[in-house]
Symmetry: C2
Subunit: 303 residues, 2 copies
């Protein structure tokens, strides 16, 4: 099939709008139906509905599409992924963690509901995410598939994945990190869940091991690109706000790709990661035009 | 088979010692093998190894025994249950929740590791618990069984179970509760996980729906008995410490069974719950001598 580029294919825009809408109503309905204290549900929904790019669910839907599968079969797992992502933001924002008052321009969960409810809403979302996968109708994923999805989710989100990365991030605060340490943090704190979003789609589609390995490599490079772009945006944003060039280690104590590689070096690293991601994508031989569009989006995004 | 009573059957003592030992080494080994930051593993193990009665795993093992099954097949689920219980204690003890400095005579997790690591260790244990069940060898539980175990665990531990109960408990603090409100809190905060410990064994043993319903009723009454006994012990402990009779509502703002029913009324309620628990146990027609011994232990325990 002919490869499309962004200008002649607005497919991702429609695809993204359609499945974001379906996902958001699935999450809302799933929380609303719970027999649970209203304040807990309000707190869960407040953060679930705070917006965001929904990049992880989108990766899952686009991966199913690449295998020629109906993306809707991934709705339960997509909701689980977004619930895990959301819980991690709620807990990361707590006073004893990053102590953030605002996220995406809105007060953080604990500023509205208090710390106790925010912790519990995070716990509730994390727990509920596994139930979501277990509740996928059997015609979409059989029991063995669900067990695989759950095991991989726990690995990606738990101590050997996201929680481990967040721990390393906390420990590294205020310290000068090496490039390897910085990569460890990102590959765990954000990378594992991005990779899971892709491999979960492949598992559901019944992909062979070799294709799964290639998709894992694709998503690992995509995840690093995502993080490098984040660091570049942060730096350029600071410069814009301050109206002058910011030396990265002056700005705050945080080690970033630009602080280790210079801004130009970070931009080169970003290009390299994007090129590698696309290389592995092509190697799969799947209909990956949506995944390529997402990759371009990550490389060029402005927020 | 002849019914045994506590004096002529020390079976629970040996059974309990044997499976507690196996469980504790299973949990230690499962955490130690994780490729994760050492401080996170230390924090997880600190609370996992802080002792405790292991009443929930014991209920699971004894239920498998009642069906004539090898209790060891429940080891992964038992570890999951104890990890969930442990994470809930770590989060409940946090400054923004119950703000406890000591648990079982030892400093609480956040007093040793700091709040951030304590929150993350709780998140890690919660996440890892689902992986434990997913990793049960297939010869013990097939994929459909694992999905059922995971779905029920999420229901028992999440917003419609333990987390919902903890939320209601926080909201009720300092307020005078009705007996129905108090029951709601206990049935969710502690009851659902006790019930799960029994029904998980029944699911693994392939029990029919009717037997599962009876075991659910057994464990619901056992759970209430457990909580009433807790409240009675608290009150008697306070009286002993103060060397005088304590009017329950003077002591602190917390609504308890004795504060609602008087001490004598609470003791009668305890006897009634124990009698109902045993009635449903007998109705199952299973070899329930270990479960009966656990029930007597709950009724008579002194700590």
């Amino acid at each position: 099939m002919a490869k499309m580029n962004k200008t002649d294919s607005p497919r991702l825009v429609d695809f993204s709008a359609q499945y974001k809408r379906l996902l958001e109503s699935k999450m809302r309905e799933s929380v609303n139906r719970l027999p649970a204290p209203e304040i807990l549900k309000d707190s869960m929904l407040y953060s679930l509905e705070a917006g965001g790019k929904r990049i992880r669910p989108l990766l899952l839907f686009a991966t199913l599409d690449a295998f020629g599968k109906d993306p809707e079969m991934g709705m339960w797992t997509a909701a689980a992924i977004e619930m895990i992502h959301t819980y991690s933001l709620i807990h990361d924002d707590l006073p004893s963690m990053d102590n953030d008052d605002l996220r995406r321009g809105k007060p953080t969960n604990h500023k509205i509901f208090g710390e106790a409810v925010a912790i519990l809403a995070g716990d509730a979302l994390l727990t509920y995410s596994f139930q979501m996968i277990a509740e996928t109708p059997d015609q979409f994923v059989d029991a063995a598939g669900k067990v695989a999805l759950i095991r991989h989710l726990a690995e990606a989100a738990g101590p050997q994945g996201m929680v481990g990365g967040q721990t390393a991030d906390m420990l590294g605060e205020g310290k000068k990190l090496t490039l390897d340490e910085l990569k460890y943090i990102h590959e765990h704190k954000t990378g594992k869940m991005l990779t899971y979003s892709v491999t979960a789609g492949a598992i559901m589609a019944g992909a062979d091991e070799e294709t799964i390995r290639k998709l894992e490599k694709f998503s690992r490079h995509l995840g690093l690109a995502f993080q490098i772009r984040d660091d570049i945006l942060d730096l350029e944003g600071q410069e814009e706000m301050l109206g002058k060039r910011v030396g990265s280690d002056e700005s705050n104590q945080k080690t970033t790709y630009p602080s280790l590689l210079t801004l130009e070096g970070a931009k080169r690293a970003l290009d390299e990661e994007i090129a590698l991601a696309k290389k592995y994508l092509v190697e799969t031989g799947l209909s990956t035009n949506l995944l390529e569009e997402i990759t371009d989006l990550v490389a060029n995004r402005n927020n």
